[in-house]
């Protein structure tokens, strides 16, 4: 088995970040998101001087004083591995970024690191405040991309991120990039998802185990997500949201940028719609991502579902034209309530629709056969 390795100086850099976290927080909060990547481009000494001018010397001395043995013992204790930029396994995409992390610390099978090539990774990001539509698209994108052999990267956050992870876990590999130590599940409500990704995929972070979250660490991890992937897809995001920072960073690196179109009056889709207006790739499904990354028509996704009878087709059409509850469908189609109920249950069993906990139906991306 290929073991990743890290040199002590790179691990010390990640320790330094943890030590400086509160100071960086102080100067980064003035302009959230924009300044931390710039800071992270600096060398150890410059960073310490910039972030904590009064105590720079002490902090640097403290980090340098940590014995080598302890650096590795801490990793072992947290069941993490580390891979620094001097190692062959270090993801190639990160090498393109000027502010790339010195070391990636993570959990999961480290041999999967070899698959983190920009051509094989797609980052799917979006807002925590998402709609059922966005979550459905994210889940579907995750599943289809993973089954097409791509690694789906995202940030484990509420909303779009977690749906992308879940979809990818159904069919293949996913990598979660965290804004805290890789041994911590943040948000805590996603502990079980985090555990599943640890077992079946990869969880990585640039911070040493045990480091908590700070406001600046989220845009900082966004730069890792952007650099890892050949293409970044924004599913839903309000204007001025973290996902758009990821999109900007990806564009700066010259990577492909995709956005999922949404209703023009929906706040949640304002971000991706703006990106589309600015020239991002339209992503209507995994096929569009494939076309963008591999060249148009290079690979076709097989995605037609089972056949439907007349009644199921009309219920599906009703759902596509905006009715989203049983009640609305019955009224729109002038069907008996029982008829609609059984049709919806059948469509759900066939994978054409999905029902939320509150009884609201959304259409999946599965399309019926044309005949």
């Amino acid at each position: 088995m290929i073991e990743p390795s890290a040199c002590p100086s790179c691990l010390r850099r990640s320790r330094l970040l943890a030590h400086l976290a509160p100071y960086i927080e102080k100067i980064a909060t003035g302009a959230p998101g924009s300044r931390s990547p710039e800071l992270l481009r600096l060398s150890d000494e410059e960073l310490a001087a910039a972030a904590a001018p009064k105590v720079a010397e002490q902090v640097l001395a403290r980090v340098r004083a940590v014995p080598e043995r302890l650096l590795f013992a801490d990793l072992l204790a947290a069941e993490c591995w580390a891979c620094c930029r001097h190692d062959a396994l270090y993801p190639a995409g990160l090498r393109d970024a000027a502010d790339a992390p010195a070391a990636l610390i993570g959990r999961g099978d480290p041999s999967l690191l070899a698959r983190l090539l920009p051509d094989g990774v797609v980052t799917v990001v979006g807002a925590r405040r998402s709609t059922a539509y966005g979550r459905e698209v994210a889940r579907d994108l995750g599943r289809e991309l993973a089954s097409a052999g791509f690694v789906v990267a995202s940030g484990l956050a509420f909303g779009i991120d977690s749906c992308a992870h879940r979809g990818a876990l159904d069919a293949g590999l996913t990598v979660a990039v965290l804004g805290c130590g890789a041994d911590l599940a943040y948000p805590a409500a996603h502990r079980s998802l985090w555990r599943r990704i640890c077992e079946e995929g990869l969880v990585v972070s640039e911070l040493p185990p045990g480091t908590g979250v700070w406001r600046w660490t989220f845009p900082a991890r966004n730069r890792i997500m952007a650099a890892l992937a050949g293409m970044t897809v924004v599913v839903e995001a309000a204007r001025r949201s973290g996902s758009l920072i990821t999109a900007d960073l990806a564009a700066d690196l010259g990577r492909d940028l995709g956005a999922v179109p949404g209703p023009v009056n929906s706040r949640a889709s304002a971000g991706p719609n703006d990106l589309l207006a600015g020239g991002a790739c339209v992503v209507r499904g995994a096929q569009d991502v494939l076309d963008a990354m591999l060249g148009a028509g290079a690979r076709q996704l097989e995605r037609a579902g089972p056949r439907l009878d007349e009644r199921l087709r009309s219920v599906l059409a009703g759902l596509e034209s905006g009715a989203e509850t049983c009640d609305a469908l019955a009224a729109a189609l002038d069907f008996e309530a029982g008829e609609v109920a059984s049709a919806l249950a059948t469509l759900e069993a066939l994978g054409y629709v999905r029902c939320s906990l509150l009884g609201v139906y959304t259409r999946t991306l599965l399309s019926p056969p044309s005949i």
């Binding site: 059922a132 929906s266 509850t325 009224a331 109920a341 919806l344 509150l358």
Partner: protein
């Protein structure tokens, strides 16, 4: 001189016999009351004193001791006034009841000696009959209620003064007309026809009523959740006589019995600030809560997510067993509470729902809000209905089908259940063993098995789907559960994090 009188005190929803013993003898004038009286009973001394002197009797200026036996039972309420006054009049030689058969007296005295109504007259009359008493004296306003009990003479009096006439033997009040049963089932309820359009909601209400299934309504404010819930009693089958009396006894004990007759299914909608004791009963002596008041009817919990967690937790066991056990120092009371639960909730704290672009609820608060919909109580809920704002054409459209038509179908479905499960039982109460006995057609079993094996259903949800499907089959008058019914049940079921 010593005299006694028989009366009753309320305990839970039942009456307990109390014997009032009054001793009048020489000494420093005074009136003491012993035998675990509560504040209202202790104040009886003042009412009795004033009532006696204002009715032309004389209040003896002697040492008076009234004892309420059994001394270990806590006595509550003003219903003991009449018995205390009567015993006192006999003890002081001003009244002689010797000519009358053994009787009990209940009633609260006004200062002028007239009688005020008491709570629980129905239960008291039943207990009097069980004790073998020949007659019971009640305030005139409780007469019709007490007269529901056959086999005991009901003497409804206006005031203390009439007692003298009664004792002489020359005068006897007529037995009051017993309170009327609702002549027509469903009369006096709000009608389901008010619910216009919204056919899925109507259909879910019918299924819930047919199988006794509990129901969760989710939708924006003003979409008709409360309207729908309050129409549910009108489509339930009419109460049997014994059930109607049971419901009336509870209402009477809580002072909630109206003048317009009995036999209607109750509809209770406690506010979400209700305390656990207010919901399931409490206090000492124990008083019934909203759950018991909803017995054989509908308990509607609007804004389910706003209820305190411990309040809802308290409702869990009663929902399963149909009984509330209220344990207080002294004794434990079992109060019946077999009701249909209807809960309603907004989809998110602001009520608009996530799909609405106006909804500004942060994701974490939506999560927390919805987490309460899959808590301990929600586990007991079978059906979920997503409600939307009805369209303008629907609101302005023709009225829906009337309650009477729906009730007929519900009653037919219930009759099938009674034949299969036993009298008075419905599909929602099926035990896991009974659920296994449901007959499924082959393609229905295949559909259910497929949903289960793809892990879209938990074991609990599997049984829930079968119960619902059985009700749908009963509504369709089918002997076996078909594919259509399983599909509909899969759609109607409340989902948890399966």
């Amino acid at each position: 001189m010593l005299a006694t009188a028989q009366t009753f005190t309320l305990d839970g929803i039942g009456a307990r016999p109390v014997r009032v013993e009054v001793d009048v003898h020489r000494g420093l004038p005074g009136f003491s009351l012993v035998g675990l009286p509560d504040a209202a009973v202790r104040e009886a001394r003042e009412r009795v004193r004033a009532a006696i002197s204002n009715c032309g009797f004389e209040f003896p200026l002697k040492r008076i001791v009234a004892n309420l036996a059994p001394a270990s039972l806590r006595k509550a309420g003003p219903g003991l006034d009449l018995a205390i006054a009567t015993a006192l009049l006999i003890a002081s030689g001003q009244l002689e009841l010797g000519k009358l058969p053994p009787l009990a007296l209940v009633g609260e005295l006004a200062l002028d000696g007239s009688l005020r109504p008491v709570r629980g007259a129905l239960a008291i009359a039943e207990e009097a009959r069980a004790m073998g008493l020949a007659a019971i004296v009640v305030p005139a306003e409780n007469g019709r209620e007490a007269a529901l009990v056959e086999g005991v003479d009901v003497l409804a009096l206006e005031g203390l003064a009439q007692l003298e006439a009664l004792a002489d033997g020359g005068w006897r009040p007529e037995r009051p007309q017993p309170m009327s049963f609702c002549p027509q089932p469903g009369e006096g309820y709000a009608d389901l026809a008010d619910l216009r359009g919204q056919r899925h909601l109507r259909y879910a209400l019918e299924v819930a009523a047919a199988g006794g299934h509990s129901l969760l309504l989710v939708g924006p404010p003003g979409a008709g959740k409360s309207l729908a819930a309050s129409r549910l009693p009108s489509i339930l089958p009419p109460l049997e006589t014994a059930e109607a009396l049971e419901v009336a006894r509870i209402a009477s004990a809580c002072g909630a019995l109206g003048e317009d007759g009995i036999g209607r299914r109750p509809f209770r909608a406690p506010h979400h600030t209700v305390s656990p004791a207010g919901l399931i009963g409490g206090g000492n002596p124990p008083r019934p809560g909203e759950a018991t008041l909803a017995h054989r009817g509908v308990l509607f919990l609007d804004e389910l997510c706003e209820f305190h967690r411990d309040t809802l937790e308290a409702l869990r066991a009663p929902l399963e067993t149909g009984w509330v056990s209220v344990a207080r120092a002294g004794a434990t009371r079992r109060l019946p509470c077999r009701f249909m639960l209807v809960a309603a909730s907004n989809p998110c704290p602001c009520g608009r729902g996530e799909a609405d672009p106006e909804c500004e609820c942060p994701p974490l608060s939506v999560r927390r809000y919805q987490a309460r919909l899959s808590g301990a109580l929600a586990d007991r809920i079978d059906l979920l209905v997503a409600i939307r704002q009805p369209a303008a054409e629907e609101i302005g459209g023709p009225p829906g089908e009337s309650s009477a038509a729906v009730r007929e179908r519900v009653a037919a479905a219930r009759a099938r259940q009674h034949r299969r499960l036993g009298e008075g039982r419905c599909n929602a109460e099926m035990t896991p063993a009974e659920v296994r006995e449901c007959v499924l057609e082959d393609d229905a079993a295949a559909l259910l098995a497929e949903a289960y094996s793809r892990r879209r259903l938990s074991g609990r949800a599997h049984d829930r789907v079968l119960r619902l499907a059985q009700t749908l089959a009963d509504l369709a008058c089918a002997n076996a559960i078909g594919r259509e019914q399983i599909a509909q049940a899969l759609q109607l079921r409340r989902r948890d994090g399966e």
